[in-house]
Amino acid sequence: MAKKNKKTGNNNYVNSPPTGLQVIFREFMKDKLAMFSLILLVVVILGIFVWAWLGIDQQQLLRVSLRDKFAEPGEKFLLGADQGGKDIVGQIIVGARNSMLIAIAITLITGVFGVAVGLICGYFGGWIDNLFMRIIDFFITIPQLMLIIVFITVVPKYTVGAFILIMSLFLWTGTARLVRSKALSESRRDYVQASKTLGTNDFVIITREILPNLSSIIIVEMTLNFAGNVGIETGLSYLGFGLPQSTPSLGTLVASANNPLVLQQYWWSWLPAALFILLMMLGINYVGQALRRAADSRQRLG
């Protein structure tokens, strides 16, 4: 007993509360910026969903009105209009909602799959682990952006669903790798070994015992993925492989800056969306940082 305790040394003075949630809460209370970001994010996200749902008729919003091409911010359009004479504010709201739904969908799909694979590999090890690690290694070394572009050109019908699936196909590996390494060290811990000797079902051990201990790290990973996904979508839009016009997204809005003159003269068509992304990303990152600190005092690479 003495020997084991030695390792943790002085930490024993501080009784860490057992649940991750309390740690997270404490971490947020300590970091005002993260707290502010969190509140802002929640308010903005809720606001956007409610506004997009109640306040905006998408059909009306997407109605091209040529005479209003690049209308300046003013009475008719609060933040001006884009090339098709469509209201920027409405598009940011709907676009933000779409981008977020997409990012959330990708995050969830990759998260669920990645966590499942990671847990199974980390817990069972052996050939299953070997197999998946080879697959993951493969995914990490292939030129992802290129293959994503090729996939997008190949799909017969390019919809939001197709986009989400293509992105998910490539993005699950990071989560899987992270969760695997954590699950690996976790499953070597005494409590798991003890549980095993007691004859507890593997599934129960994984879901009831290991998973909760990884929850905070998974939350962090997912928040950061979320931020990354918004970025990828934007980039693809710029290269001309973005979502169809009928689905406004933050990416398409920002991509309209692909011409130096629009960039300069019609700043309202892209700048608000770009700032919006920037603020969202900053918020998400600050929240993510706080979560990360809560999850692991020795910070991981971001």
């Binding site: 290694d137 493969f138 990490i140 070394t141 292939i142 030129p143 992802q144 952006l145 290129m146 293959l147 572009i149 090729v150 996939f151 050109t153 190949v154 017969p156 931020a227 970025g231 934007t234 980039g235 710029y238 290269l239 920002v254 991509a255 800056a257 692909n258 130096p260 960039l263 300069q264 892209w270 770009a274 992304i277 920037l278 969202m280 990303m281 900053l282 990152n285 600050y286 020795r298 910070q299 991981r300 690479l301 971001g302």
Partner: protein, 320 residues
């Protein structure tokens, strides 16, 4: 050490094989073919059929694949349909451009990121640290092309500090000093843009490495020797924290290759990334497949390079 390298190369083979099958099949699934754009009403459909047949596009994919891989082993990557040139030559020309761009980007990237990362880690939680972290978040959040366009607009057109497209001005005689300077001058702005955007990862990583290192036992040992803090940082903390960054180099290069698609498009720089995008729209299969394979190979090489660098700089994994 040589054994490890050889072993790693052997592992690469199945990976590249799988990648080659995937990209080959995908390329075949792409709608349209390289001859679509060439036809005119005077074109005899039989002539198109003849060209398609000659190019071997009518065979089942696995036959085409075997032929392609066979040729590839002999160094023949086929002919670009649009450029009518040997793919190897074409890519070779572009690869050199991308290589210089990436090299300078890496250089500037480390030039910016390492001091910032060190400062942030050294003075953790200070105002300086917070500013640096904010900077790294902001550059992370700005889409590449937005920053690229702003730089292009500002430094290229408004201030006219840098050329705005191409890789070298035609007025300089190839081989002269002025010519190489001009090449350098052309990649400066794209590299800088690129470097600024790439710093986030390294700054964050270096910062947390340093913060971690500060609590390490060997740092305590060093401090117990009574040497000044400044020296503890430079001789113990930084040295150890920079180690994984050095190992990052391989991956950084891989990452840069992916991002070259954006930067080269924005700055009209004729490199491989731009070639890829234009080949996608012209359905130049042989170029697309060759580029994906090359990038895949380089990525693998990058991770190998990382391991090698690591084994050189880290005595713990140095294999004698």
């Amino acid at each position: 050490m040589w054994k490890t390298i050889v072993r790693r190369f052997l592992i690469m083979i199945p990976q590249l094989f799988v990648l080659s099958v995937i990209i080959f099949v995908l390329a075949k699934f792409m709608p349209g073919d390289p001859f679509t754009g060439l036809i005119s009403p005077q074109t005899d459909p039989a002539r198109i059929a003849e060209l398609t047949e000659k190019a071997g596009l009518n065979d089942p994919w696995h036959i085409q694949y075997m032929r392609w891989i066979g040729n590839a082993f002999q160094g023949d990557l086929g002919l670009s349909y649009t450029y009518k040139r040997d793919v190897a030559d074409l890519i070779g020309e572009r690869a050199l451009n991308t290589f210089w761009l990436s090299l300078l980007s890496v250089f500037i990237l480390y030039l910016i990121a390492i001091p910032l990362g060190i400062l942030a880690g050294r003075y953790q939680n200070s105002r300086l640290d917070k500013t640096i972290v904010l900077y790294s978040f902001v550059t992370y959040a700005i889409p590449t092309f937005v920053l690229g366009l702003i730089f292009l607009f500002l430094f290229g057109y408004k201030l006219e500090w840098f050329p705005t497209s191409g890789s070298v001005d035609i007025k300089y005689e190839a081989g002269t000093l002025r010519y190489y300077w001009d090449k350098f001058y052309h990649i400066l702005l794209p590299s800088f843009t690129y470097a600024v955007l790439g710093t986030t990862g390294i700054i964050q990583y270096l910062r947390s490495e340093i913060i971690d290192a500060k609590t390490m036992d060997y740092v305590r040992t060093a401090r117990s020797k009574g040497i000044p803090m400044r020296k503890v940082y430079s001789k113990h903390i930084f040295r150890n924290s920079l180690l994984p960054i050095a190992a990052f180099l391989g991956f950084t290069i891989t990452g840069l290759l992916g991002g070259s698609i954006f930067v080269e498009t924005i700055f009209g720089y004729p490199g491989m990334g731009q070639l890829f995008v234009s080949s996608i729209s012209s359905r130049d299969y042989s170029v697309i497949t060759a580029l994906v394979m090359l990038f895949g190979f380089l990525a693998l090489l990058g991770s190998l390079l990382s391991d090698i660098i690591m084994s050189i700089v880290d005595p713990r994994i140095r294999i004698e």
